[in-house]
């Protein structure tokens, strides 16, 4: 294993990124590449990711796979790094033209899908595309979460004018905070019909609040990404839907593409790995099931 291709994710402490890493690990094994798994410990730690990128490049790898944590901020460092090694982007973009290839999910599009899912779920329950809804964002200042919020709000405004966003909340990245916010939202807004919890941790906290209050029928919640717990919520009808990306493939294909690039092969410049809405109805489909149960180890 002489070839080294490090992969740098946004936050190693989150399940989503662990799936990305699992994909990359599998690719490493299949292709005989050494894949150091790197990443900051929080999606908002931009400086940390820049440092990690610098360190990775210092090790003179064959290529680097990175998921830039912030569009603008990672631009220059990636330009800089690309002078030494080829850079493959996954999941999110950065303000740089130096990427050799891109495998991304469009987070704005993900937000739109969530809006569609929420509207559909509410319509199914009440028969109307109207009512009070809320959005809870896990952390301020995180690019991908901002984009989901943006996509969601925009879709709601343009496509579903009957909905009124009564709360646009930011938590602190803690499930408990999401839980507390949700219980208070329920108290303060008795007419609430839907919520978008835009990442895994918030979906867990918000789902818990819904479960505690047995409001699964009345308040529809769309989450983002999945794990055992939220899939369980989906089955129980606590959550109405989950927007699920294909992190495993991003990791796997990222490394695969990088290897190809390092060998001088020609690769596609842009690949959309897609985002899907998962509901109780479609969760048994094999393709969706594979997304919900990635082979992490």
């Amino acid at each position: 294993q002489d070839v080294t291709i490090p992969i740098i994710v946004k936050d190693t402490t989150s399940f989503y990124w662990q799936i990305v890493l699992a994909g990359a690990r599998a690719a490493g094994k299949d292709l005989g590449v050494n894949v150091p798994e790197l990443g900051a410990q929080s999606e908002s730690d931009i400086n940390g990711q820049i440092s990690i990128l610098e360190n990775a490049v210092a090790g003179s790898p064959a290529a680097v796979v990175i998921s830039p944590t912030e569009f603008k901020a990672l631009g220059k460092p990636i330009d800089e790094a690309a002078k030494a090694v080829p850079i493959i982007g996954i999941d999110s973009a950065a303000d740089s033209k130096a990427f050799t290839s891109f495998l991304t999910t469009d987070n704005v599009q993900g937000g739109r899908i969530a809006a569609d899912g929420l509207a559909a779920a509410i319509k199914e329950a009440t028969g109307k595309e109207e009512g009070e809804i809320a959005i809870i964002t896990s952390l301020p200042g995180v690019g991908s979460l901002d984009q989901r919020r943006e996509g969601f709000l925009d879709q709601m405004k343009t496509k579903y004018p009957g909905f009124k966003v009564v709360a646009d909340k930011y938590a602190d990245g803690q499930a408990t905070t999401g839980l507390n916010m949700m219980t208070d939202l329920i108290t303060a807004n008795p007419n609430l019909v839907g919520v978008f919890a835009s990442n895994l941790i918030m979906a867990q906290g918000v789902g818990q609040a819904i479960a505690e209050n047995n409001l699964g029928d009345k308040i529809k919640v769309i989450g983002f990404d999945s794990d055992e717990k939220t899939v369980g919520f989906l089955k129980e009808g606590v959550l109405a839907g989950l927007v699920v990306q294909d992190p495993y493939r991003m990791g796997y294909d990222g490394v695969k593409t990088a290897l190809a690039v390092s060998k001088g092969e020609k690769v596609e410049a842009n690949v959309d790995t897609g985002a899907n809405l998962v509901t109780k109805a479609n969760m048994a489909e094999p393709k969706i099931d594979a997304l919900l149960n990635p082979k992490v180890n």
């Binding site: 190693t12 402490t13 989150s14 399940f15 990124w17 662990q18 890493l21 301020p140 009564v166 709360a167 909340k169 930011y170 938590a171 602190d172 990245g173 803690q174 499930a175 408990t176 839980l179 507390n180 916010m181 219980t183 208070d184 939202l185 108290t187 303060a188 867990q204 906290g205 818990q208 505690e212 794990d227 055992e228 717990k229 369980g232 992490v296 180890n297």
Partner: protein, 325 residues
């Protein structure tokens, strides 16, 4: 000596006009906030919301009580948030491995005891500053927890366990009962038993305590073990409440706990503190958040207001204390 200094830097004396406010104890301030919120919103005084509030403040309150023991000895325990996250992983892991609930609970609390003992060991035997050893375990414990879960979460399927945090008893949320379960023995321990007095003595002048035959080392062990065990207990409650074990949860709760304690009148220089103070502090913080949510205050304004209210509340409390002397 620092304590005396702070006290003697007399500062301005309160003017007559607003002296009623100064007379309020922390409890008064809390009730005042509640009244205010009762007027400002319709939903504040609903049984449902009061239940929520009691639940929301419960975990910080328990952490703050544990933290207070340590602060009274002039120490600090930065690890409590990490211990909460870590023990939530431990209990989830044990339950997933099929360990019976009672055993999982006891084992998790025992881990809390061990962590506290390790802190005290570092302080007493290795002569490390409390700040450093607890910061180090903060870092390491999160790492171990993440290793165990492989960066993910462990779901808890035990219904009995996850239902607990949702249950009510005599109309009061079980989480709040847990505060009482912790606070009553803590009160007896701190204010009525000689061990509590030894905590104060060690914090006031550990040399004097030693010369009086107080076992300073044992007292230090006691304080840190109590703090970590409270944190492990909160870890159980958290796991029960969110139904998962996740090592990155409870980040920053150490500051919340310390802040509750300090708002409740504990001095970071040691030897000043109580059990009811941190409880009030924790529920004041919970009330601020709850109220801001009910009033649908923009979450950014919420932060700003929280900061300002902390200043105002502690300031009034300081004035009152000064007045009393």
């Amino acid at each position: 000596m620092s304590v005396e200094t702070v006290e003697s830097s007399a500062g301005p004396t309160p003017r007559k006009g607003i002296s009623i406010l100064f007379g309020l104890t922390l409890l008064g301030l809390l009730l005042f906030l509640w009244l205010l919120l009762g007027f400002a919103t319709n939903s504040f005084w609903t049984p449902n919301n009061i239940s929520n509030l009691l639940r929301q403040g419960a975990m910080t309150a328990i952490l703050a009580v544990g933290q207070t023991f340590v602060i009274i000895t002039a120490g600090i325990d930065l690890s409590v948030g990490a211990v909460v996250g870590f023990t939530s992983v431990i209990v989830a892991w044990l339950l997933a491995a099929g360990v019976p609930l009672w055993l999982a609970v006891i084992a998790t609390l025992a881990i809390g005891v061990l962590i506290g003992a390790f802190h005290a060991f570092g302080i007493v035997r290795m002569g490390l500053p409390a700040f450093i050893i607890t910061l180090a375990t903060l870092t390491s414990l999160r790492g171990i927890g993440l290793l165990i879960t492989n960066g993910s979460t462990i779901s808890i399927t035990n219904e009995a366990f996850t239902n607990f945090s949702r249950a009510n008893f005599l109309g009061v949320p079980s989480l709040f009962w847990m505060v009482i379960v912790v606070a009553v023995p803590a009160y007896i321990f701190l204010h009525l038993s000689r061990f509590g007095r030894y905590l104060f003595a060690v914090g006031s002048n550990s040399e004097a305590a030693r010369l009086s035959g107080v076992n300073v080392n044992r007292t230090t062990y006691l304080a840190y073990i109590l703090s970590s065990t409270c944190a492990a207990f909160v870890g159980l409650l958290l796991a029960s409440r969110i139904g998962i074990g996740n090592a990155t949860q409870a980040e920053g709760w150490e500051l919340q706990a310390i802040a509750s304690s300090v708002i409740g009148g504990t001095s970071l220089f040691g030897a000043v503190g109580s059990v009811h103070g941190p409880l009030l502090g924790a529920f004041i913080l919970a009330t601020i958040n709850n109220g801001a949510n009910l009033l649908n205050v923009n979450s950014f304004w919420q932060r700003i207001i929280t900061g300002l209210l902390i200043i105002v509340i502690v300031y009034f409390d300081q004035l009152r204390r000064r007045g009393e002397r």
